[in-house]
Subunit: 439 residues, 2 copies
């Protein structure tokens, strides 16, 4: 099977290398920065499965002797110094060290030196993608970042090529595998957030310091990239609203179930009348929807277009091999001179909309009280005063529980919060939690 | 919003036209053959939403006076003669007349004249795609067919670009919106096949002569294209096994429901040890799976890769606007000189595997009998003799019904059929129906 499927990659070798345009099967020399999970998966595909004209020549990593493996061809040079790579004759530099620095500087140096760059670095692309793309254009080289969003799910190329003929108005997705693992565990087993997090850490789905994932910052960077390529909206990542999933408790899953729902970290960006509505937050989603069915490290992206309607992309959003597929696909496109990513985002045409998280949607409101009946009637009254319609009052199935919940019909979270603050008898509610319900 | 989103298309205009490479924003002149549902949707996007450098110059259709509409710019020439288009200065000819002839001849003539072609014609591409791609290469022009499979779902470009770095071993999907509409109607409402077909015809989801769809020939052509671009397997469409969905009765949905399943027309192509297992047939799929949840004209394609695992693409597989998105995306890629479709399939590297429909899978066997207990025990005995394990015996919920059903564990359909033929006491079974269960 391998020998047959190797042709899958080999077919692409027919294309000519961007670096040496015109010559058939010109060799494309590749250097990898960072030999971690993704870096080693990329190296293995290049070493064992890629066509001959893709040639790995350098691997750069700290403490390189600790990293060396025997399956890398002997002619590949191992180094700890980025300058060795920069001064080499590599055509494409693959940046897989992650984080803002030194990754950003190294990408800039590589482009300045006229070397094309493939990166999986969502933070660098979210923060300075347009600037780096301009630099690549000036230096007549390329920058591709298909692996920066949704791992192996080819959503960047799909938006830039396959849906190029549509006018996308909304992008909604599950973009963080760690949160999805934790929330699907909580939903399936009834575990608390902390238990699910510890389990995720044990299994390697969550970092020792999981805040980037849990707080939504990882998904936010990916959403900013999607907003730019799909909606052509320039948005500073820090302006996108984030709410951590750590606020979710098992009781929320119980209430959600009564509504035929579960809870996922959902990232949404929608352009409406010149305003970009964007947020990364836990949300109630239908159990039987693609979002509700997504388990573990699955990612989903749903694009809504004026002509094509909803188009959904789903698959493994994390892990060495799936992410490596995206990286190698970008390298192949570069070698074939068909890469689009470097042209797709034209910063001069992007708009800079106002960013808001004040979506109109229905909401779930959960609160703790020791006087359920009084609290619910006070709440309903407060909402009615503010002309917010209550959808349903959810039954508290455990008598000892101090939690109650209601759903409210379409309104903005700001209006809902205002109504709750104004009408809340503080002696009844200890606190409340608002979660949007997304369909 | 339109003025903002128009930039989505406009961004792409930054790329240079393939026809006039090097000049920035060179004009790309477009002629459309066929002004039906898809043709007019493409024309509308080009007329009202596309960047200036995409210029519609010709529309060719029979009885053209009947077709003329006022929203087409006056400088566009209407004609009934293909030769007018061929002798024009069109750079890209968009073939949307469908069917094998004259579409195939016209595409060949256009390529011979050095004009690039965008087509939504699954039959022509399934039958002579590689030959036409070679011709395009020889004449230094391009051929793109992103709209030939799954309408607006960009699965062709996703496989050729986004998943280029993977080795795909299996492609499975719902590729025919008509069958999906009929089967989802039958599942939801309990309607018979004929009732659901008539309803589909009334609503425009099925042709007056629906055999191409119902019998699986439409999906088969699309599957042959996917097998070639994804699995690099040359396969003559007529060698792909098809079973019509007209054999499905409401009772099959009732039994399927007991298994947590529904029924969909599923197209599968899998390379295993040099054999291409391929079939288009009704199959039991889990109610809560993406296939089970697909309604109406939705299409789904699931690609299984060695490195990236399962990646799912889903959206509207039919209709003027979604299909037009795929066509316009191909035109934009051509105008940008980034088109991959014309390079992606390199016939010289394709394999020509043996084609078989003898998949190992579990099956559902439904039969009619007036002696349920005797029939079931005879059936179980016949299967046991052939070492095929019975999974479950399904309860016949209506006493008056003459139908019974069992499931059998993983085996080939040929082994199952042999066992049933050998062990079937003809006085008990009037007939039986076998449907694979796909997970």
């Amino acid at each position: 099977l391998d020998s047959i499927n190797a042709k899958s990659l080999h077919t692409k070798s027919e294309r000519t290398c961007s670096i040496d345009r015109g010559k058939h099967k010109a060799v494309c020399k590749i250097a990898i920065l960072g030999f971690g999970t993704v870096g080693s998966a990329v190296a293995r595909i290049l070493a064992e499965h890629a066509p001959d004209h893709l040639r790995l020549i350098h691997i750069c990593n700290r403490d390189v002797n600790r990293k060396k493996v025997d399956w890398i061809p002997p002619q590949v040079q191992w180094t700890e110094r980025f300058n060795d790579v920069l001064s080499s004759d590599a055509d494409v530099i693959v940046e897989l060290i992650g984080g803002l620095q030194p990754a950003e500087d190294w990408i800039r140096c590589a482009l300045l030196a006229g070397k094309s760059v493939v990166t999986a670095n969502k933070q660098v692309i979210a923060d300075c993608g347009p600037e780096l793309l301009n630099l690549a254009k000036q230096r007549n080289c390329r920058l591709a970042f298909g692996a920066a969003v949704a791992g192996g799910v080819p959503v960047i190329s799909a938006i830039q090529d396959g849906l190029a003929g549509d006018e996308i108005s909304k992008i909604c997705g599950i973009l963080n595998g760690t949160c999805n693992y934790i929330l699907s565990e909580m939903g399936d087993s009834g575990a608390t957030f902390t238990t699910a997090l510890v389990e995720a850490q044990k299994r390697g789905y969550a970092e020792a310091d999981p805040r980037e994932d849990i707080d939504g910052l990882d998904a936010r960077a990916k959403l900013a990239i999607l907003a730019r390529i799909g909606l052509h909206a320039k948005v500073c990542t820090t302006r996108i609203f984030c709410r951590a999933i750590s606020a979710i408790e098992p009781v929320d899953f119980e209430f959600a179930k009564q509504l035929g729902c579960t809870i996922r970290q959902v990232s949404t960006a929608e352009l409406n009348k010149g305003v970009l509505f964007a947020a990364v937050q836990p949300a109630l989603v239908a159990l039987s929807s693609p979002f509700g069915l997504a388990r573990g490290s699955q990612n989903i992206v749903v694009c809504t277009g004026k002509f094509g309607g909803e188009t959904t992309f789903q698959g493994l959003g994390a892990g060495g091999n799936p992410t490596a597929v995206a990286v190698v696909s970008d390298i192949l496109a570069m070698a074939a001179n068909t890469n689009v990513s470097s042209n797709g985002v034209s910063p001069s045409h992007d708009i800079s909309p106002r960013v808001s998280n004040d979506f109109v949607t229905s909401h779930y409101v959960r609160f703790s009280t020791s006087h359920t009946m009084r609290a619910v009637s006070a709440l309903v009254k407060a909402l009615e005063t503010s002309k917010i319609n209550v959808g349903s009052v959810l039954a508290n199935r455990s008598r000892s529980s101090k939690f109650s919940a209601v759903t409210v019909q379409a309104c903005t979270p700001s209006a809902l919060q205002k109504a709750l603050k104004q009408g809340r008898p503080s002696d009844i509610f200890q606190f409340y939690r608002i979660i949007p319900i997304l369909n």
